[in-house]
C-alpha cells in the first residue's frame, strides 16, 4: 500500500513567550517535535501515543496544515505540501477532517445539528441546500442518531451523542483522512466503548485513513494497525499494535504500558517506574537519549551517544530508538 501521508524529519520549535521581566533574558526554545518521520498508509489507522507535552497534538496540527513546520517535509500522495499554496491547503482541508476531544467545545452552541453537519458542505460549496440537508439526514443515521435530531441544538445532547455529531460532521465531505485527537478521552467508560466501536465501523465502511492521537494506550489495540510512541517530541518506538503492546522494546514504552491499571487479573504485571524528574523541555541535552535521565535501564553511554532509530531483527518494521532494546 502506498503512503497517503509521509513526514520526513519534521521539527517544530516554539520560542518561550515569557512575561515582562523575561524581555531582558535570552529567549528559550522548546522542541515540540524533533525530526519526526512517520508514514500513514492508505486505509491504515496509526495510533500516536505519549503523555501530555510529548508533541502528539502538534504533530496532528502540522499534518493538517494548521501549524507551519520549521524543518522537514510533509508529503501527501507523494507530493510535497510542506509549503502548500492557499489553493492546495483548501483542497487538503476538504480531504482531511478532524474530530476533537471535547464535544462540548467543538460544537457551536448557536447552531442546530443540521447546520453543524452541513457547515463543511456550505464552505466547500458542495451540492444544493436540499442535497445538503439530505446528506445531513443520511449522516446522522449512519452515526446512530435519528433524523429528527437535526433541528435540535448541541446542549440537548449528552457527551457521547455530541461526539457522534462531531463524527457525522467530519464525514460530511467524504474525507480520505481523519485526525482523531483524543476523540474518546473525555467520555465515560460505557460511552467510550460505543464511540470506539463507531469509529472502527466508520473507518471500515468508508476505508478511511486515520491518525488516532491518545494518551491512553489501552484503547489503541481496538482501533489501530500501528502505533508510534512519542516522548518529548521524538518518536522512540513505532510498530504494529500487537507487537508493540505485547513486546514493547523501548524502556519508555515499557514504563507506559506497565503504568496502565489493568482490570484483567491475568495481565497484572509488576509496575515499572521512571527515575527522578524529566528534563525541562527547554533544556534538552544536545547529545544523548532524551529519556536517559529517567530510564530505569539508563547507562552512562545513553547520555553521551544519541540513539539511532533501527529496525528490530526478525520483526515487521518494528523500529526503536534505544541502544539496548
Amino acid at each position: 500500500m502506498p503512503a497517503l501521508i509521509e513526514t520526513n524529519g519534521i521539527t517544530k520549535t516554539y520560542a518561550s513567550r515569557g512575561g515582562l521581566f523575561d524581555l531582558l533574558k535570552q529567549k528559550k526554545y522548546l522542541h515540540a517535535l524533533y525530526k519526526v518521520s512517520l508514514s500513514i498508509e492508505k486505509g491504515e489507522v496509526l495510533g500516536l501515543v505519549g503523555e501530555s507535552g510529548s508533541g502528539k497534538s502538534t504533530f496532528g496540527q502540522c499534518l493538517m496544515g494548521l501549524t507551519e513546520t520549521d524543518d522537514g517535509t510533509i508529503r501527501v500522495d507523494g507530493g510535497d505540501v510542506t509549503h502548500a499554496t492557499a489553493d492546495q491547503v483548501r483542497d487538503m482541508r476538504r480531504r482531511f477532517q478532524i474530530i476533537y476531544q471535547d464535544p462540548f467545545a467543538s460544537l457551536s452552541p448557536r447552531m442546530n445539528i443540521r447546520d453543524i453537519i452541513c457547515e463543511p458542505l456550505d464552505i466547500h460549496r458542495v451540492g444544493t441546500q436540499k442535497e445538503r440537508t439530505a446528506r445531513a439526514a443520511e449522516l446522522i443515521e449512519i452515526v446512530g442518531l435519528r433524523a429528527e435530531h437535526l433541528l435540535r441544538f448541541p446542549h440537548e445532547f449528552s457527551g457521547g451523542q455530541r461526539q457522534r455529531i462531531s463524527i457525522a460532521r467530519a464525514l460530511a465531505l467524504n474525507p480520505e483522512f481523519i485526525l482523531a485527537d483524543e476523540a474518546v478521552s473525555a467520555l465515560d467508560v460505557s460511552l467510550q466503548a460505543q464511540i470506539i466501536n463507531l469509529l472502527v465501523e466508520m473507518q471500515r465502511q468508508f476505508s478511511l485513513t486515520m491518525l488516532f492521537i491518545t494518551h491512553d494506550l489501552s484503547v489503541v489495540e481496538y482501533l489501530c494497525d500501528r502505533v508510534a510512541v512519542l516522548y518529548m517530541g521524538r518518536v522512540v518506538e513505532v510498530g504494529r499494535t500487537k507487537d508493540l503492546c505485547s513486546n514493547p522494546a523501548h524502556p519508555y514504552s515499557q514504563v507506559l504500558l506497565s503504568a496502565i491499571p489493568n482490570i484483567d487479573p491475568r495481565r497484572k504485571k509488576k509496575r515499572l517506574f521512571m527515575r527522578g524528574e524529566r528534563f525541562s523541555p527547554y533544556e534538552l541535552p544536545e547529545t544523548g537519549c532524551v529519556f536517559a535521565k529517567r530510564c530505569p535501564q539508563g547507562r552512562p553511554e545513553c547520555a553521551a551517544i544519541t540513539p539511532k532509530e533501527r529496525v528490530l531483527p526478525e520483526s515487521v518494521d518494528h523500529r526503536v530508538s534505544c541502544h539496548f532494546a
Partner: protein, 364 residues
C-alpha cells in the same frame, strides 16, 4: 474458619464511617430534584473503599455531603453520618454545627480533589499552605510545623523538599502539585481520607506514582480511604471493597475480588466488559462490548430500576418496581440491587474472559 474469625474481628472494630440513608436533594422554587437516594455504607479503619460510577452518578455529591460541603451549593442532606475518630469518639456529622465541623474538616477527615491547581492558592508558597493546615488544627510552634511540613513533602516523594518548601504552586508540575495536596491532606494524620478522582487529570505514569504514594501512606498511618473514581482499572489495583453507583444509588457492593470475578449487577458487568484493557483485545476491529444508550439524568430515574432501559436482562418487573440493595444470599457480604441477580449471576460471570468455567463458584 479462619475467614470467619477475621470477619468477627472486623465487626468488633468500630467503623470509621457509618453512613445511613444519606439522601441529597436540590430544591428549586417549585421542583425538588433528588440526586442521591438512600445511600448507606460503612468504612473500617485502614480500609480502602472505592466508589465507582460514571459522570452524574452521584459520586462527588456523596463525597461532598460527607463533609457537608454540598450545602454551600444548596443541597439538602438527610440521613445520618456517624464518624468515629482515632480516639474512639463518635459523632453524627449531620448534627454538628459549623464550628465543630471545622474541627473535623482537614483534620480528622481530609479530602483531595481532581484538579490540584484549583485547590492550591497561587499567591502563597506551598510550604506556607501546608504549615497553615498544621497550625490551624494543632498546638505546635511555627518552627515545628515547618519541620513537619518538610517531612511531609519528603514522604510524598518531592525531591529536595527543603528547597521546594518556599516555591509556589505554578512552579510544580501537575503530579507534583497533587503530591503537595496529599501532603497537606495528611498534615493532621486524618482517620479518613476522601480522594475524589485525584489522578484523573494526570498522565498514566504520574498516576501510577500517586496511587503508590497514597497506598503506602495509608498503610503507614493506618488511615481509611474513600476513593472516588470512574476508572475500574484503578479500583482493581487499590481497593479492598467497591461500591458501584448509578443514578444516585448504590447498585452493588462487593469486595474487589468478587466484583471482578463474579459481578452481580448487569451494570457492573457491563462496565467491566466495556473497559478497554491492554493485552485483552482480540485484535483491531473486534468490537468492545458497549452498554447501549446513555446515562440518564439522576432525576429522570422515574419508576422501576434506573438501569432497566439500558439493561439486556430487564423484565417487566424491572420497569415498575425499584429493586432494593440486598445481600446476594444470607451468607454473602455482596449486596446488589437487582431483581434478577440470583438468576443471572452465573451468566454475568461467564462473560468475563478471565473467569474459567470452574471458577464460577467463588463464594462469600
Amino acid at each position: 474458619m479462619n475467614d470467619h474469625f477475621k470477619i468477627y474481628e472486623h465487626s468488633r472494630q468500630r467503623n470509621v464511617l457509618d453512613v445511613r440513608n444519606l439522601s441529597v436533594a436540590f430544591t428549586g422554587r417549585k421542583t425538588k430534584k433528588t440526586v442521591l437516594s438512600d445511600v448507606s455504607f460503612s468504612i473500617r479503619p485502614g480500609e480502602t473503599v472505592a466508589l465507582v460510577g460514571e459522570s452524574g452518578s452521584g459520586k462527588s455529591v456523596t463525597a461532598l455531603s460527607l463533609l457537608r460541603l454540598i450545602e454551600r451549593s444548596g443541597g439538602v442532606i438527610s440521613g445520618a453520618t456517624y464518624f468515629t475518630d482515632n480516639d474512639g469518639q463518635t459523632v453524627d456529622i449531620l448534627a454538628q454545627d459549623e464550628k465543630e465541623l471545622r474541627a473535623i474538616r482537614g483534620n480528622k477527615i481530609s479530602m483531595i480533589f481532581q484538579e490540584p491547581m484549583t485547590s492550591l492558592n497561587p499567591v502563597l508558597s506551598v510550604g506556607f499552605q501546608i504549615t497553615e493546615a498544621i497550625l490551624a488544627h494543632r498546638d505546635v510552634s511555627a518552627e515545628e510545623a515547618k519541620r513537619e511540613a518538610i517531612d511531609l513533602l519528603h514522604k510524598v516523594e518531592i525531591p529536595d523538599p527543603e528547597r521546594r518548601f518556599g516555591d509556589y504552586p505554578q512552579q510544580f508540575s501537575g503530579g507534583m502539585r497533587q503530591r503537595v495536596m496529599i501532603a497537606m491532606a495528611l498534615a493532621c494524620k486524618p482517620s479518613l481520607l476522601i480522594a475524589d478522582e485525584p489522578t484523573t487529570a494526570l498522565d498514566v505514569t504520574t498516576q501510577a506514582r500517586i496511587l503508590d504514594i497514597i497506598q503506602r501512606l495509608k498503610e503507614e498511618m493506618n488511615m481509611a480511604v474513600l476513593f472516588i473514581t470512574h476508572d475500574l482499572g484503578i479500583v482493581s489495583e487499590i481497593a479492598d471493597r467497591v461500591m458501584v453507583m448509578y443514578c444516585g444509588s448504590i447498585i452493588e457492593k462487593a469486595d474487589t475480588r468478587n466484583l471482578f470475578n463474579a459481578p452481580s449487577h448487569p451494570y457492573t458487568s457491563g462496565l467491566i466488559l466495556s473497559m478497554p484493557a491492554v493485552g485483552s483485545a482480540r485484535g483491531k476491529g473486534v468490537p468492545l462490548p458497549a452498554i447501549p444508550g446513555t446515562v440518564p439524568a439522576v432525576w429522570q430515574g422515574a419508576r422501576g430500576c434506573t438501569f432497566s432501559p439500558r439493561c439486556s436482562y430487564a423484565i417487566e418487573r424491572c420497569r415498575h418496581e425499584t429493586p432494593l440493595l440486598q445481600r446476594r444470599n444470607p451468607h454473602s457480604f455482596v449486596e446488589v440491587a437487582c431483581h434478577r441477580a440470583a438468576e443471572i449471576r452465573s451468566m454475568l460471570g461467564s462473560l468475563l474472559p478471565w473467569v474459567e468455567a470452574g471458577e464460577l463458584g467463588i463464594t462469600a
